[in-house]
């Protein structure tokens, strides 16, 4: 078969190749088939080409020995996908917390405004109370000292005994009196409720105990001391007014309220988490 081959033109070769694949239209196919009946050499060329095509189609394709699946590292993808949802959730939580805290502050402001509206009335009541304190007589002015009496009397006992006994014991009195001063201060704080009054009263109470210890329980000395602290005793009344005025406003003067701190923390968290979420989402692609 191969011996009778003749050299085909490019056009004939394309025609035969297309005929094998059924790419000729009906007219072209009929004309070629008519030629093939007459031209045996052309028929032999067609057969040899067809054999070649059949042989190529029967060649089994090689199979790869491995898979070619991609890993995140191959395509420059890191692995943020697992914790990005967690970041999103945390961001949403921080945002919600911030909104809730701002809303809470709004509610507090509203209630504060209502209290402020009632403030003048409260101020008048305070003035009345102050007048009553001023018009009170001296024994009344000594009332805080009387209230302190039980504890101080109990404390006076070792001081008086020490004064009657030996001079060495006197050396022990001063530290003991110093220790008593804070106790007196605590009690005064309960009465007045303001720092200024507490300080004054605390000093007065400390001096009183010290004075008593030094005087060895002299009643005149006590009266004198009480007379000295009469003037500072007015401070709690003024301090009470100031304290009331402060308590009528929610925001504490001189420091940031805890609510504001929480708002700041929630807001900062929201911003940081948002930035992290966006960053890691972009990082993954």
């Amino acid at each position: 078969m191969m011996e009778n081959r003749r050299k085909l033109s490019e056009q004939e070769l394309e025609l035969l190749s297309a005929y094998i694949d059924g790419q000729l239209n009906d007219r072209q196919a009929r004309r070629l088939e008519a030629r093939l009946h007459e031209d045996l050499q052309l028929k032999a060329e067609l057969d040899s080409l067809r054999m070649t095509v059949n042989a190529l189609r029967d060649v089994s394709a090689p199979r790869p020995k491995r898979h070619f699946m991609l890993t995140p590292e191959m395509v420059g993808q890191r692995e943020p996908a697992r914790f990005v949802p967690v970041l999103r959730f945390a961001t949403a939580l921080a945002g919600l917390a911030f909104v809730a805290l701002v809303g809470l502050e709004g509610l507090q402001s509203l209630s504060g405004a209502q209290l402020a509206a009632r403030a003048p009335e409260a101020m008048r009541e305070a003035e009345v109370a102050q007048d009553a304190i001023r018009s009170a007589e001296e024994p009344m002015a000594a009332a805080p000292a009387a209230e302190e009496a039980p504890e101080f009397e109990a404390l006076e006992v070792p001081a008086e005994e020490a004064a009657e006994q030996e001079p060495e014991a006197m050396m022990m009195e001063e530290p003991e009196a110093e220790e008593l001063a804070p106790t007196g201060e605590d009690q005064v704080m309960k009465v007045t409720g303001t720092p200024e009054a507490t300080e004054v009263a605390g000093i007065a109470a400390g001096e009183e105990v010290e004075g008593r210890a030094m005087d060895g329980g002299d009643e005149d000395g006590i009266d004198q001391e009480l007379g000295q602290i009469e003037a500072p005793e007015e401070a709690p009344a003024e301090g009470a007014n100031a304290t009331f005025a402060e308590e009528s406003e929610p925001a504490t003067i001189g420091r940031i309220s805890p609510l504001r701190w929480l708002q700041a923390i929630a807001g900062a968290l929201f911003i940081i988490l948002s930035v992290l979420t966006i960053t890691f989402r972009r990082w993954s692609f």
Binding site: K43, S48, L49, M51, R63, K65, H67, F68
Partner: protein, 203 residues
């Protein structure tokens, strides 16, 4: 999920969806790469590079035949690799003798020596070697068309999409490739299995 859905998810960055496409097409991609490169290791490298490129440029896929689009990337990766090496593709005869190709037949299993194999197996092996040698001798532009149409079974339109040339170019290149292959295989015709000779005689 169908191919369109997998492509859509892969475009959004879902690597698992893209890997399902890889599993579906890695056989044909490697087959084409192997025919172009002529040996296993280069074909594997080119195939892997092609899938990486395909994933990174997936957003440029605007529909149509994904297989054609992917094989275009595979052929480009192969030609890039060949250009880098600045050498002809190695003959696959060495690979065959080393058992380096994963053919289906027992040939690669090492069960038979050349002398022990049945006559038909020897014929098949010899014919395959001859065909691959002749394919390697073809110019690259002819070889890719012959591989796509005659080995992988693509139609002319798909082949034209892969090589990005008109249909007429595919037809003429295919005809020339077949003519050269026929001439190259002239000495191997006697090794053809009976069915080819029978077909020849019946026409």
């Amino acid at each position: 999920m169908d191919e369109t859905g997998l492509i859509r998810e892969a475009k959004r960055g879902d690597l698992d969806s893209f890997n399902r496409l890889v599993l579906a097409y890695e056989g044909i991609a490697y087959g084409v790469a192997y025919r172009i490169m002529g040996e296993q290791q280069s074909a594997e490298d080119a195939t892997q590079d092609a899938f990486i490129s395909a994933y990174k440029s997936l957003k440029t896929f605007r529909g149509g035949s994904f297989r054609s689009w992917l094989l275009r990337i595979v052929t480009n990766a192969c030609y890039d690799e060949l250009r880098k090496r600045k050498r002809r593709p190695a003959s696959s005869l060495d690979d065959l003798s080393d058992g380096g190709i994963g053919f289906d037949s027992e040939e690669s299993s090492g069960l038979f020596t050349e002398q022990q194999r049945p006559e038909k197996e020897v014929e098949q092996g010899e014919l395959r070697k001859a065909i691959e040698r002749c394919l390697d001798l073809l110019p690259a532009e002819y070889k890719i068309v012959a591989v796509l149409v005659d080995v992988q079974g693509f139609d002319y339109k798909e082949a034209s999409e892969v090589i990005q040339k008109p249909l007429g170019t595919v037809k003429s290149r295919l005809a020339r490739a077949r003519g050269r292959l026929r001439d190259c295989l002239q000495d191997a015709w006697e090794l053809l299995p009976g069915k080819y000779r029978l077909e020849d005689e019946t026409r």
